[in-house]
């Protein structure tokens, strides 16, 4: 299928619903497997850090959630552009469904960071650049959530959130830079592509967990999208037909 026809087909919630069923299951299974493998590896097999001892194992949760928090916001910005320019229904639903996941990932990144900070820095909280950027990100996610809750009409809420998501996306680099410039204290993040500062037996489980979190995101997003499609298209014939079928048994994920 050419990209152009794919683009047009994405405009049809029905097509997307029918296609996404197996993908949802697949991502769910992959997330469960990868996270199980990654976490056992991280907790039991990976060697102890010679400086931080065992507390560094929090990194295997902290780093993926922090990465996911940013990826989810990117998704929102892109969905916002697509919604405003092409009025695609699916983009509207992505904007609605991805926000809670992003909010929770940001919160988890902050909380696990605080827990990690206690044994390594001796304090739960410091006003360090990356922590503050993450906090701002939390407020941005919360703003999107609150704005949607406040606007009664669904399509107006969707487009208002699109504008806000785009404005946020343009501002995030400026916010990050300014905060970074003013409060730098954090250890530099080790880059996964250009050679990590960790030995491979330490960073491989991290890699597995990051992929696992991405699969989890895909699973939760697709599952919420499919539910949202059913809700919005309840009156159509194809949804009524779907409802007649017995519930598809999705394997228990995670």
């Amino acid at each position: 299928m050419s990209l152009k026809t794919l683009w047009h087909k994405l405009g049809s919630p029905r097509w997307f619903y029918e296609l996404s069923g197996p993908w949802t299951t697949g991502f769910g299974v992959a997330a469960a497997l990868l996270l199980a493998v990654g976490c056992v590896w991280a907790l039991a097999i990976a060697p102890e850090d010679y400086q931080q001892g065992n507390s560094y194992r929090i990194m295997y949760i902290h780093v993926p959630t922090a990465i996911l928090a940013q990826s989810v916001y990117m998704t929102l910005g892109v969905a916002g552009v697509i919604l405003l320019v092409w009025r695609m229904k699916l983009a509207d639903m992505v904007l609605a469904c991805a926000v809670p996941f992003g909010l929770w990932m940001t919160a988890l990144a902050l909380v696990t960071g605080a827990i990690w900070g206690k044994p390594t820095w001796g304090t739960w909280w410091v006003w360090d650049a990356r922590i503050v950027s993450m906090l701002v990100q939390l407020f941005l996610f919360f703003g999107l959530y609150a704005l949607r809750e406040a606007i009664p009409r669904a399509d107006a809420a969707g487009r208002a959130c699109a504008v806000l998501a785009i404005v946020g996306l343009v501002n995030i680099p400026i916010i990050k830079y300014s905060v970074d410039w003013w409060l730098t204290l954090h250890q530099p993040s080790s880059n996964l592509l250009t050679g990590p500062t960790m030995p491979s037996e330490m960073y491989l489980p991290l890699f597995v967990n990051i992929i696992g979190f991405y699969c989890l995101y895909a699973y939760v997003l697709l599952a919420s999208l499919r539910l949202e499609i059913l809700r919005r298209e309840e009156k159509t014939q194809w949804v009524q037909q779907q409802l007649q079928q017995p519930l598809p048994q999705q394997p228990q994920a995670v």
Partner: protein, 243 residues
């Protein structure tokens, strides 16, 4: 006399021709300023809020000279941010209620300039006055005259960005009954870079360091906001007007 002035208040929307855009901006700005002259409370209230905030900080810190001078740049910048935020709520509310906002969004061409006119008027109403009053507050918090003057310059560069960024939030929340707290939640994260560069410029200047980086950053944030924020505002107003 009243009939004449009422007509002056009506929207002067020039459609179509590009050559008329300058007139659109001017007439929009003129209309806003005439409204402003007739309701001085809109100018005075944020300033009173600002002065009250300065007083609360000064008394709370027991008026101690060294402490106040150290905190003054941050206190003043934060209060400017908040005073500006409070004044945002009225930016589109009245026009939304009497229906002229709808005309502005649907009819004004180019809409960019019409919105820019409103934002400029908001800056003249809130930002400019805060810029003028803040150095006095700085002197009251024991900044030296030089530093108060420098504070004025940073505010002059930064406050337009506050009006511009804030107008997007105000446009998104204008149709909602009680948008006040929501507006703060939406807008304050976007204000953070302005606060950082503004306050740090004054702090570093007091410590005797070079501050050109902050000045350039403030100027470029304002320029970026000037080019993008009216577009985002216009999109947001269209959504708010439709509901």
């Amino acid at each position: 006399m009243s009939g004449q002035s009422e007509r002056n208040l009506s929207l002067n929307l020039n459609q179509g021709s590009q050559g008329l855009s300058k007139r659109l901006l001017r007439s929009q700005l003129g209309r806003e300023l005439r409204i402003l002259v007739r309701s001085p409370a809109d100018v005075v209230n944020p300033l009173m809020f600002f002065a009250l905030g300065v007083m609360l900080f000064a008394v709370g810190l027991r008026g101690e000279r060294e402490v106040l001078a150290e905190f003054a740049p941050v206190v003043i910048w934060v209060l400017v941010l908040l005073a500006n935020l409070l004044s945002l709520e009225n930016l589109y509310r009245r026009d939304f209620e009497d229906g002229s906002l709808e005309q502005l969004v649907l009819l004004a061409r180019p809409g960019f300039l019409a919105v820019l006119g409103k934002i400029l008027a908001h800056w003249l109403q809130a930002g400019l006055w805060l810029c003028l009053v803040a150095p006095l507050a700085g002197l009251a918090l024991f900044l030296s005259p030089d530093q108060a003057g420098f504070l004025f310059i940073t505010l002059l560069l930064g406050t337009p960005a506050l009006s511009l960024l804030g107008s997007v939030g105000a446009a998104l929340t204008v149709g909602l009954g009680r948008g006040g707290v929501l507006l703060a939640v939406l807008v304050l994260p976007l204000y953070l870079p302005v606060l950082i560069f503004g306050a740090s410029a004054v702090l570093e200047n007091m410590a005797g360091f070079s501050t050109s980086a902050q000045i350039y950053w403030l100027a470029s944030i304002t320029m970026l906001a000037l080019t993008l924020a009216p577009l985002a505002t216009l999109a947001a107003l269209r959504i708010s007007v439709e509901q």
